[in-house]
C-alpha cells in the first residue's frame, strides 16, 4: 500500500500523464461530471460518478471499422485500424470497473473484437472507492464491494490523503513510477475508510435488493408475465437507459458515404429502438413492450444463462437517475418478484 497527500495529486497526475494519456472525471458547467483528458490545470471532480459511463474508453459511441474505395466494379478494402495509445483512466468506481468484466465477456470471447481488445490491452484502470454513495446505488446487489474496487490499481480517498494498492502487473508498473511522490504505509487508514463506506452501504435504500429470483434458465418463468404491459406502459422508447448503461453493448454497423469513399463504422444501438430488429420483411419485436422486455430479460436472465450466472447490470444507478419517466431495472426487479424488502 502506498499513500500520498491530496495536495500532491496534481504532481501525481502530471507524472502519470508523462507516459500515457490520463483521463479523469471533471465537472462540467451543467453540474454533471465527465471523463476528460488531464492537462495542467484540470480539476478532478468530486462527483460520485459521470453521466456517461467509462465504457466509452473501450467501446466508444462511434468508431470507424474500415474504409472502402470503389472504382467501376472494383472495391478496395482499407484496414484503418491502429493500435490504441496507452492510456490511464483514473477514478473509476467499483461498479464501472466491474462493467469492464461484463463487456470483456462479450468482446473478448472468440472471435475477439480487435478494436475493443486493443484498447483494453493499452488501458490502465485506477479505481476509486466510493465515499458518498447515492440513494440510487445498488452495486451490492451484484456482489460488488464499493469499498474494495478492482482495477489495475485500487485507490481510497480520505479528507487529506489518497491510498493506492496495485492489483496487477500493469498497476504495479504504474505505481512504481509514482514512487517518488508516494510513501509506503500500512492499511489501517484504508480499513477505517472501508468500514465507513460499508456503514453507509448498509443504510442505502436499495441495500436489500437481491437477484435471487433471476438468473439463467428462467425465461419461461418471466417472459409471459402480464406485468410487462404495466411496466412498459409509459416507456418512451428512447435510448437513454441503454446509452448511459455501462454494460449495454449492442451496436449497429453502418456505412457512411463520404463522397470520396465509404467509411464503415460502428455505433451504439439500443434494443429500445423501433428499428433495432427491423428486417426487410418484418420485425420480430413490434411493440415497445417487447423491446422493453428484451432489455431486462437480457440483463437478468439471458446474459447470466450464457455467462456463468453473471448479470449484465452493476447497480451503478445511472438509469435510475436518467430515465425520463423514472422506469428502471430496480422497479422491474421488484415487480418481477425480486423484492425482498417490501
Amino acid at each position: 500500500m502506498r499513500k500520498c497527500s491530496l495536495d500532491k495529486m496534481n504532481l501525481v497526475f502530471a507524472e502519470i500523464a508523462k507516459n500515457a494519456a490520463l483521463y479523469l472525471p471533471v465537472d462540467q458547467n451543467d453540474g454533471s461530471a465527465v471523463y476528460k483528458k488531464w492537462e495542467e490545470g484540470t480539476v478532478w471532480s468530486n462527483a460520485l460518478n459521470t453521466v456517461r459511463s467509462p465504457k466509452d474508453f473501450f467501446f466508444p459511441q462511434t468508431e470507424d471499422l474500415m474504409k472502402f474505395t470503389t472504382s467501376g466494379k472494383n472495391i478496395e478494402i482499407i484496414d484503418t485500424r491502429s493500435e490504441s495509445e496507452d492510456f490511464v483512466i483514473f477514478g473509476v468506481r467499483a461498479c464501472d470497473v466491474k462493467s469492464f468484466d461484463i463487456l470483456d465477456r462479450v468482446f473478448l470471447t472468440e472471435p475477439v473484437d480487435s478494436f475493443y481488445g486493443s484498447r483494453r490491452e493499452h488501458g490502465v484502470i485506477i479505481s476509486l472507492a466510493c465515499t458518498r454513495p447515492s440513494e440510487t446505488c445498488f452495486c451490492k446487489t451484484f456482489g460488488i464491494d464499493a469499498s474494495e474496487p478492482a482495477g489495475d490499481i485500487s485507490a481510497w480517498k480520505t479528507e487529506t490523503e489518497i491510498f493506492f494498492k496495485a492489483n496487477t502487473e500493469k498497476g504495479e508498473e504504474l505505481l512504481n513510477k509514482l514512487s517518488a511522490l508516494t510513501e509506503d504505509c500500512d492499511d489501517s487508514t484504508v480499513n477505517e475508510q472501508k468500514a465507513k463506506i460499508n456503514a453507509i452501504m448498509n443504510k442505502l435504500p436499495l441495500k436489500d435488493l437481491t437477484t435471487d429470483a433471476f438468473g439463467g434458465g428462467k425465461t419461461n418463468e418471466f417472459f409471459n408475465l402480464p406485468v410487462w404491459d404495466e411496466l412498459s406502459g409509459t416507456c418512451l422508447g428512447c435510448g437513454t437507459c441503454t446509452f448511459v448503461c455501462p454494460t449495454c453493448q449492442c451496436y449497429d454497423i453502418k456505412d457512411f458515404n463520404t463522397g470520396n469513399g465509404v467509411i464503415r463504422y460502428r455505433c451504439w444501438d439500443s434494443c429500445m429502438y423501433s428499428d433495432f430488429t427491423k428486417m426487410a420483411h418484418g420485425n420480430n419485436r413490434l411493440t415497445q413492450k417487447e423491446r422493453f422486455r428484451q432489455r431486462f430479460m437480457h440483463k437478468l436472465v439471458y446474459f447470466p444463462e450464457n455467462n456463468d450466472g453473471e448479470f449484465s447490470c452493476v447497480g451503478c444507478g445511472r438509469c435510475l437517475a436518467k430515465c425520463p419517466i423514472s422506469m428502471n431495472i430496480v422497479k422491474v426487479m421488484k415487480k418481477l418478484g425480486g423484492a425482498t424488502n417490501e
Binding site: R132, F243, D252, W268, K331
Partner: protein, 332 residues
Amino acid sequence: MQKITREQLIEKAVALLADGTVSCVLGWSKGEFDYDVTPAIFNNEEELKANFVFNDFCGVNFSKYLVAKTQKCEGKILVFLKPCDTYSFNQLLTEHRFDREKVYAVGIPCEGMADVAKVKTICGDGIASINFDGENLAVTTLYEDAPVMISTNDVLAERCVNCKSKKHVAYDELIGDEGEVIESNRFDEVEKLEAMTPDERFAFWQNELSRCIRCNACRDACPACTCEKCVFDNPNSGVENKSPANSFEEKMFHIIRAFHVAGRCTDCGECSRVCPQNIPLHLLNRKFIKDMNEFYGEYQAGAEVGSRAPLVDYTTEDLEPGEVFNRGDMNA
C-alpha cells in the same frame, strides 16, 4: 408545495371511475424514492390508493401519452393536466392526434415543479426522504441527521421559473381557481444568445450539443413530435443515424427537430427536462417562438384549438423574406 393534494385527486378519480365517466386514469405512480414518479394508467380505486402520487416532482406532461392511450383504452381516459400541459393538449387536438371524446381532462393548478438535480446541488447526493412541508422541502440524506430545509422556489425546474401561464386553456373540469397568463422572462436567455457574436453563439451550441448522446429522449418526450414514423428512425431516409458520423450531423438532428416543431412547440420544456445530458434544448425552440412573435405577431401554440400557426398561415401583413435576410445580415 402544491396547493392541491394527492387525496383530492384520488377522490376525484375514484368518483369519475365510479360514475362511469371514465374507465381509467392517467396519473403519476410513486417510485422508489420520493421524487422518481412514473406516469402510469390506473384502473381502479385500489391501484390509485396504493400508488398514485401528486407532489412537486410530477412534472411529466401527459398530453402526448393520450395519442397512444386513447387508442388502447375502452371508454374515456381521465387525465390530470397542469396549465402548461393544456397547451400541448390543445396543440395535439389542433393536429388531430387524438379523439377529444375519449378524454376527460381535469385541470389542476400547479405551483411549479421541482428539479431533483437542483435539490441535489443543495443537499448533495444520497437523498433518503423528501417531505413536503409548506413552502419548503424537508430533505433528509444518508449523511446528515437533521433534514435540510430547501425553499421550493430555489429548486424550481427552469421551465417553471419561467412559467408562461397558470391558465388552463383546455379542460372538462377544473379543480381550484382559473389562473392567468403570466408575463414571464422566458426570452431573457434567448436574448443573451442573440447578443453573442456568431462565433460565440456557435461555440455555445457546439459545447452544449457536443454532449448529446443521441438517445432521442427529447424527441420521444416532445408532444409536438408525434409522427407515426420519424424520419430519423427510417433506415431508408438516408438520415437515420443512431449516433452521428460527425459533429455536423449531431447539430443537424436538433436543428431539424427545432424547425419541424416551430410554430407547434408550446414551450412545455419536456425536451430539456428529459435530456440526460442537461442540454438546454428549449432555447432552440424559444428562439423560434421569439422570432415568430417578432416577425408575425404574438402567437402561442396551443392557446386555442384550431389556430393557424404563423408558418402555415398567409396574411398580406406577412414579413417579406428580405426583412429576415436583413436582420440576419445585421447580426452577422
